[in-house]
């Protein structure tokens, strides 16, 4: 189906999603720098276009739901994101991984008034859409709906019905479990899935943050009663934020959301995060066998910070230098100089709980060892050599200038207002963000490199053919896993 479409680089999200990967650029310790050749003849405007991320108009409903509205009449459509904190997979009951996600999937499989097929038909016919997700590693369940402003009054009540009156029919649950069993089988062979599963497991162990997916056993055990119980305990208005963006005034949006969610009763549930995960002192090297692989998926990671940590901004700059896109040091080194890979990047995962930094690449099996050397070289260099003024300024410039592009994207703007409101940042957080980035110095970057990327604690996970094992041994005793 999808027509083959080849890209020169892996597409990156344009928006600066606050909790999202931001990536790098570079040079290297000791050996030649993989710097691009710079002629500096192309005409560049040295001014950064000053843009302001719009602020949401906010209101809290009597039942505690926080409503944020971004009015924008550019297109005759409305996006709505309902974020139910405390209902994410992080709060799966012990021994029942995937229950939150199954609960979320089941919302649109029938309500007290509508069958699954009624819902699908009503939404599809309106040209609208509903997507619900509740990943195992998230604290929230997120319902995203989109449709025309002209029939908002038709599709919003369906969205509200799905959220507030799910009936969790037993036959639908049986079918959903059966389909999930097939998906679980499929993902066992997916190298990207295995990489994320085992880096999390390595960093967090058997805590909720370390579990990324349901298992066949947990899926088989899901019952309507368990799902009902999870729903009634975890879906609470006082922990919910509704972001409405698009072709509607705040007054109308408040009235519509208030009406749609008015029957939802407040509870006394408070979102309680797991205790802060402590880092293990030593490095482990994990090989996940995937026989016949022609590439090794390498992921290196270390526990780092949550999103509120004051290091977030300097770490973002350091990460941008190390691994942001095609101008990052990892990309320049591993792809443009060494020809090991199609792409190499780094990222920060930072949300409510202690997250991690990571760097990853898919390299042909024969250069697994060489690629690992380059990763560790770049980590070392980030913490031991001051970044040049030029390189630093290029990256800081990039992180600020990209704000202009986000104005084209409703979803980027929604994520900005979510970040400000969810983490309790000041109203002028995004107005001051550019200035904060500009204060990050070369010393700060080096400090971030030492604090978060030093090699001793950097965990290594490799997904690949078992024959790569000797190439990993240089970095520690290899623990081999056959999934």
């Amino acid at each position: 189906m999808k027509k083959h479409l080849s890209l020169v680089i892996t597409p990156l999200v344009v928006s600066l999603l606050a909790s999202c990967p931001i990536l790098t650029e570079g040079q290297v310790t000791g050996n030649a720098q993989p710097q691009p050749t710079r002629f500096n003849r192309a005409p560049v405007s040295n001014e950064i276009l000053q843009v302001h991320i719009p602020r949401a108009v906010k209101q809290t409903l009597p039942n505690g739901v926080r409503v944020l509205v971004l009015e924008n009449h550019r297109a005759a459509q409305i996006n709505i994101n309902i974020v139910i904190d405390g209902a994410g997979g992080l709060f799966d009951p012990a021994g029942q991984p995937g229950l939150a996600n199954m609960t979320a999937q089941m919302l649109s499989r029938g309500t007290e008034k509508l069958s699954a097929q009624d819902i699908a038909r009503a939404i599809d016919t309106q040209g609208a859409s509903i997507n619900v997700s509740s990943a195992s590693i998230y604290t929230d369940t997120s319902l995203f709906a989109s449709g025309l402003s002209s029939n908002f009054s038709i599709w919003l009540p369906i969205v509200a019905d799905v959220l507030l009156h799910p009936s969790f029919p037993a036959n639908e649950l049986a079918d959903a479990k059966s389909r999930q069993m097939s998906r679980l089988q499929s993902q066992q062979a997916n190298a990207g899935f295995l990489a994320s599963k085992y880096i999390r497991k390595t960093l967090y162990g058997d805590t909720p943050e370390g579990i990324v997916s349901a298992t066949p056993a947990s899926t088989a055990a899901f019952t309507v009663d368990a799902i009902r119980a999870f729903y009634s305990q975890h879906y609470a208005p006082q922990n919910t934020m509704v972001i409405v963006a698009g072709d509607i005034t705040p007054e109308k949006a408040f009235a519509a959301v208030s009406d749609a969610l008015k029957g939802w009763q407040k509870t006394d549930l408070q979102v309680k995060l797991p205790p802060v995960k402590q880092e293990t002192a030593r490095r482990t090297v994990t090989l996940v066998d995937r026989p016949d692989s022609v590439q090794t998926n390498l992921v290196l990671g270390r526990l780092a910070i949550d999103r509120r940590d004051p290091d977030y901004v300097p770490l973002s700059v350091a990460n941008n230098i190390l691994g942001s896109g095609a101008a990052g040091r990892l990309f320049m080194r591993l792809r443009e100089e060494k020809s090991y890979t199609y792409g190499a990047y780094s990222r920060i995962d930072a949300n409510d709980y202690r997250g991690y930094v990571s760097a990853s690449s898919e390299v042909r099996s024969s250069v697994t060892g060489g690629a690992l050397d380059e990763f560790f070289n770049e980590f070392h260099r980030l913490g031991s050599e001051p970044v040049s003024a030029q390189e630093l300024s290029r990256h800081e410039h990039s992180m600020v200038a990209v704000f202009a592009l986000s104005l084209e994207s409703s979803q980027s703007l929604m994520s900005y207002v979510y970040t400000q409101a969810h983490y309790g940042f000041p109203d002028d957080y995004w107005d001051r963000y550019a200035a904060q980035i500009a204060t990050v110095s070369a010393e700060d970057v080096m400090r971030m490199g030492t604090k978060y990327f030093s090699g001793e604690n950097m965990q290594v996970v490799a997904i690949g053919d078992p024959t790569i094992k000797p190439a990993l041994a240089k970095w520690g005793e290899v623990q081999e896993i056959k999934p």
């Binding site: 999808k2 990156l12 560049v44 599809d124 025309l148 101008a327 990039s398 600020v400």
Partner: protein, 446 residues
């Protein structure tokens, strides 16, 4: 509906308005003396400019022994030119807050940038410099050949079902232009030489073989002056050699079964040879396929997934092409499913729909979906620039994205029935079955 390509940078497709924007905004079309076609559309709602350059060359021009070349060449376009160093293009765009990429299909190659509005000169300069003076060295070619081979490993060789679409394409098409994959073969990629790259550049990367589209926060007169300044003196070249894309009529069903190292579930692909994109018949087939395959209210989802429970996932649609388009259905089934049953249901549903036509609500659904798609395309500057330039290259109709909805609106249920009966027949069909390497024993599923 149509499986539209989600191009590159995840500029979010704002979903659309059913009150579709069928009015064509003002735009300007100019051809420079060297043959470069220029499209300019102002939109001052955000301080952003999008630039797209589409070259009329894709993998369909490749000959046996030289597959994968158009795409390898696309990579070379980021390796520097007379005034831009290796890697400098990507760095300049990124550090100035922009986004960029290039993509290759059978039918065309495109390059695009999205930039804050004060950086329009930068984007134009970079595109012009590589159109004028691409720097080709053996070291850069070797480096990018490796990058492309890793891309092939990443997307195809190391993925479950990675090969399946290529195999179906090879099974269905007879003309080499569309029979081989854009990614090409490792052996052919290894054989590519610096001389090949230089010749390809001279033949296809001329201003008279390209269209540039600008959409965004500029004044058209100023922008046109800049385009003339940067591109005007690039010499034109003789037109590329003509291309034979004639596709013989298929006489009988074709079938193939492959095993896949990484697949865990059996997958069925069914393709039909149909007709050219952007024709009334294509639009009618597109609506038919949408009723059949789109979303949880589609006929195949209801039947295969919900009712018979012999599938976990159903996708399908029309693959637009400048050659003969494929109507394709893809079904993933639980382990042990008898795919013959899945096939039988698909053919039964196609026959039923071709006989009785869509119901009223299904017509409403698919036409609304088409409108929504249109608003999505037209509400992003980058999507507009890319689509305008491409439609100018393919159909000499840069504003097709604004008028396409009207062409769908006039399609009747009878049109839909007629094209389905004409094209979605057994003799026109190619079937590819992908099985896990160690196939679980087949068992009755019901």
């Amino acid at each position: 509906m149509k499986l539209k390509l989600h191009i590159g940078l995840s500029v979010c497709l704002l979903s659309a308005s059913l009150t579709a924007q069928t009015k064509i905004p003002p735009y300007k079309e100019v051809t420079l003396k060297n043959g470069l076609r220029v499209l300019l559309m102002e939109d001052h709602s955000t301080p952003v400019d999008a630039i797209a350059v589409v070259y009329d060359v894709g993998s369909r021009v490749e000959k046996p022994g030289a597959t994968g070349f158009a795409h390898l060449f696309e990579h070379m376009m980021f390796q520097g030119s007379a005034n831009v160093g290796k890697g400098e293009h990507m760095q300049l765009i990124q550090e100035n807050g922009g986004a960029m990429n290039g993509t290759t299909t059978e039918d065309r190659t495109n390059y695009f940038e999205m930039l804050p509005a004060n950086q329009i000169d930068l984007g134009l300069y970079l595109e012009a410099d590589r159109m004028r003076s691409l720097a080709v060295t053996q070291a850069n070619l070797d480096n990018q050949r490796n990058a492309v081979q890793e891309e092939k490993r990443l997307r195809i060789d190391n993925q479950a079902y990675g090969r399946s679409n290529e195999v179906l394409q090879n099974l269905m098409y007879d003309n080499f232009a569309y029979k081989h994959s854009t990614m090409g073969s490792m052996a052919d990629l290894n054989a590519a030489s610096v001389q090949d790259v230089q010749k390809f550049f001279k033949t296809y990367y001329a201003p008279n073989n390209a269209v540039i589209a600008l959409v965004g926060d500029f004044k058209s007169a100023d922008a046109l002056k800049k385009v003339e300044q940067y591109f005007g003196s690039i010499p034109s070249q003789p037109a590329p050699p003509p291309l034979d894309i004639a596709e013989p009529k298929q006489q009988a069903e074709r079938r193939q079964t492959i095993t896949d190292d990484f697949a865990k579930l059996p997958m069925l692909l069914v393709g039909y040879k149909t007709t050219r994109a952007n024709t009334p018949e294509f639009f009618a087939l597109d609506l038919f396929m949408s009723v059949l395959c789109d979303g949880q209210s589609s006929r195949l989802y209801r039947r295969l997934v919900e009712q018979d429970k012999i599938a976990v996932q159903v996708e399908g649609g029309m693959e637009p092409s400048r050659g003969i388009a494929m109507a394709e259905i893809q079904v993933l089934s639980p382990q042990g499913t008898d795919l013959k049953k899945v096939e039988a249901v698909i053919y039964e549903e196609i026959s039923a729909l071709a006989k009785s036509g869509p119901e009223d609500w299904e017509m409403e659904k698919v036409l609304n979906s088409e409108r929504k798609h249109q608003v999505g395309t037209t509400s992003s500057d980058l999507n507009r620039a890319i689509t305008m330039a491409q439609d100018a290259v393919f159909y000499k109709d840069p504003t097709l994205m604004y008028t396409e909805v009207k062409r769908y609106d006039v399609i009747t249920k009878d049109d839909i029935r007629r094209v389905a009966q004409q094209y979605l027949s057994e003799n026109n069909r190619s079937v590819l079955i992908t099985l896990p390497k160690v196939a679980p024993a087949t068992k009755e599923t019901r």
